[in-house]
C-alpha cells in the first residue's frame, strides 16, 4: 500500500491522479486530501501575475466567459466577510481561483472543478481594503480572468 502511494505521488500528486486513486480504491478520501499538497508558493505570492505563474500558467487573458455573478457586491460594509460568486462558460474549465490584489497575499482560494461539477462557486473572502478582485479560471490548460473592484468600508484583516 505504501509503495503504491509513493507511486501515485511520483506520478504527479495532482488532484486528478488523486481522484483516480480514490475511485480505484487505492486511497481513502481523507488520505487523498492529506496528500494533495497545499501550494505554499502560490499562497505566498503578492501579485496577480505571480499567482498565475505559481499556479503553473504563463500568462492570463481577460475573457468575458469568466464572470462575477450575484452575490458579489460593489461595496462591502465589512471587509471581514465579502461574498464572491464566480461562473465560467469557458469549455473545459478545470479550476476557479479568487484573488484579492491588495491583500498581503494575493491568492485567497483555488477550487478544482471536476467533470460533472458546474463551473460555479460562491464563497466569502476577507479584504483588507478597497481593491480589485480577480476570478482566475484554468480551462484546457490556459488561464483566463475577470476583474472587479470592491469597495470596503471597514477593513477585514485587523481583527
Amino acid at each position: 500500500m505504501n509503495s503504491v502511494r509513493r507511486e501515485v505521488l511520483k506520478a504527479g500528486g495532482g488532484v486528478t491522479v488523486m481522484a483516480l486513486a480514490v475511485s480505484a480504491g487505492l486511497l481513502r478520501p481523507e488520505e487523498a486530501l492529506a496528500q494533495a499538497a497545499w501550494n505554499k508558493a502560490a499562497f505566498e505570492t503578492r501579485s496577480f501575475a505571480d499567482t498565475v505563474k505559481a499556479l503553473g500558467g504563463a500568462a492570463a487573458v481577460e475573457n468575458p466567459g469568466v464572470r462575477f455573478a450575484s452575490p458579489t457586491p460593489e461595496i462591502a460594509e465589512n471587509g471581514a466577510l465579502v461574498p464572491v460568486t464566480v461562473t465560467s462558460s469557458i469549455p473545459k474549465t478545470e479550476s476557479i481561483a479568487i484573488l484579492v490584489e491588495k491583500n498581503p497575499n494575493t491568492l485567497a482560494a483555488n477550487f478544482v472543478v471536476p467533470n460533472g461539477t458546474e463551473p460555479f462557486i460562491s464563497t466569502r473572502v476577507k479584504m483588507g481594503q478597497t481593491s480589485d478582485i480577480y476570478a482566475l479560471v484554468k480551462a484546457d490548460g490556459r488561464y483566463y480572468y475577470a476583474k472587479k473592484e470592491i469597495k470596503v468600508t471597514i477593513g477585514g484583516c485587523g481583527g
Binding site: 452575490p71 457586491p73 460593489e74 462591502a76 460594509e77 466577510l81
Partner: protein, 272 residues
C-alpha cells in the same frame, strides 16, 4: 431565508458619500450597493453553526445530573422550544420572577442538570477561540421562533412591573456621560460612526431591532445574544456592568420585547 429590512441610512449615506463621492445620485447607488451586500450575506449565515451546536447541547445529557434540557420549561410547557422565544420574557411561577430566555436557561441548567449558578454562567459570551455554550443554546432556541409573531404578555402583575422598570431604565440618564438608552435610540437618524441606530421609540424600528437579535456579528465572528446586546450598550454608555440575567437586564428586555409585539421574529440574523 430572512430578508434584511431597508436600512435607515441617512447617516451611513452621509459618511459613505464622503468616502465614495457626493451627490444624490451616488448616495442612492451607495445605499443600493450596501443593501445588496447585506442581502448577499443572508444565504449561509454562520449563526447556523451555533444553532446546530445548541440543538446538540439541548439534547445531550449534561451536568452532574447527566440529563438533557429536554424537560426545560421555557414557558410553553416542558421541552417545548418551538415559538417559545417569541413569548419571552414572562413570569414563571417556579422561580417567582420574570425570566428572559437566558435567565431561564440558567435556571434549567441549575435545577435540571445540577450545575451551580456560577458554573452555568461562567462563560456566557464567546470570545476568540472560545465560544460560549450559552450563546449556542440561545441560537438554537431562538431559531425555533423564526417566523413566529412576537407575542409578549403583560398579564401578570410582575410582568407589568418588569415592563415599567424596563421603560424607566430605557430613559434613565446616568454615568459619566449623562447618557440614557434613549440618548442614542430615542430619535430617528442617529448613528455611531457609520452605524445607523434604530429609534426604539418608534414601533417599526423597535420591531425590526428586537426581531433581528440574536445575530451573528461579522466584526466579532460571534453569535451574540440579546443579553450581550444590552451588556454592550451599557458598556458603551459607561454605565456599571449590566449583570447577566439580572432583574434590570430582564426588565429592559421585557420593555423592548413587548414593544416588538406583532412583528414576525426573524433571528438569528447577521449584522455587519
Amino acid at each position: 431565508m430572512t430578508r434584511p429590512h431597508k436600512p435607515v441610512v441617512a447617516a451611513l449615506l452621509f459618511a459613505a458619500g464622503l468616502l465614495f463621492g457626493t451627490g444624490a445620485h451616488s448616495q442612492d447607488s451607495t445605499a443600493k450597493a450596501l443593501q445588496e451586500y447585506r442581502d448577499a450575506l443572508q444565504d449561509g449565515n454562520p449563526a447556523e453553526l451555533w444553532e446546530i451546536k445548541g440543538e446538540d447541547m439541548w439534547q445531550q445529557p449534561r451536568g452532574p445530573n447527566k440529563v438533557s434540557m429536554e424537560k426545560c420549561d421555557l414557558g410553553l410547557g416542558p421541552g417545548v422550544v418551538k415559538g417559545a422565544y417569541a413569548r419571552l420574557p414572562k413570569y414563571f411561577k417556579d422561580t417567582d420572577r420574570v425570566d428572559d430566555l437566558e435567565s431561564r436557561l440558567v435556571h434549567c441548567m441549575v435545577s435540571l442538570q445540577g450545575y451551580t449558578r456560577a458554573e452555568a454562567t461562567r462563560r456566557v459570551f464567546g470570545g476568540p477561540g472560545a465560544a460560549a455554550d450559552m450563546e449556542a443554546l440561545v441560537a438554537y432556541v431562538s431559531s425555533q421562533s423564526k417566523g413566529v409573531k412576537m407575542n409578549v404578555a403583560l398579564a401578570h402583575p410582575r410582568e407589568r412591573e418588569a415592563y415599567q422598570m424596563g421603560q424607566k431604565l430605557f430613559y434613565y440618564r446616568g454615568g459619566p456621560h449623562d447618557f440614557a438608552c434613549a440618548t442614542c435610540h430615542g430619535e430617528d437618524n442617529k448613528r455611531i460612526r457609520l452605524q445607523d441606530l434604530p429609534n426604539l421609540t418608534s414601533k417599526k424600528d423597535a420591531q425590526r431591532a428586537y426581531t433581528t437579535w440574536p445575530a451573528y456579528r461579522v466584526s466579532q465572528g460571534e453569535l451574540r445574544s440579546f443579553q450581550w446586546r444590552l451588556y454592550d450598550c451599557f458598556r458603551q454608555q459607561r454605565f456599571p456592568e449590566l449583570l447577566f440575567g439580572s432583574d434590570a437586564s430582564v426588565a429592559l428586555t421585557m420593555f423592548l420585547a413587548r414593544n416588538a409585539n406583532g412583528a414576525a421574529f426573524a433571528a438569528p440574523a447577521i449584522k455587519r
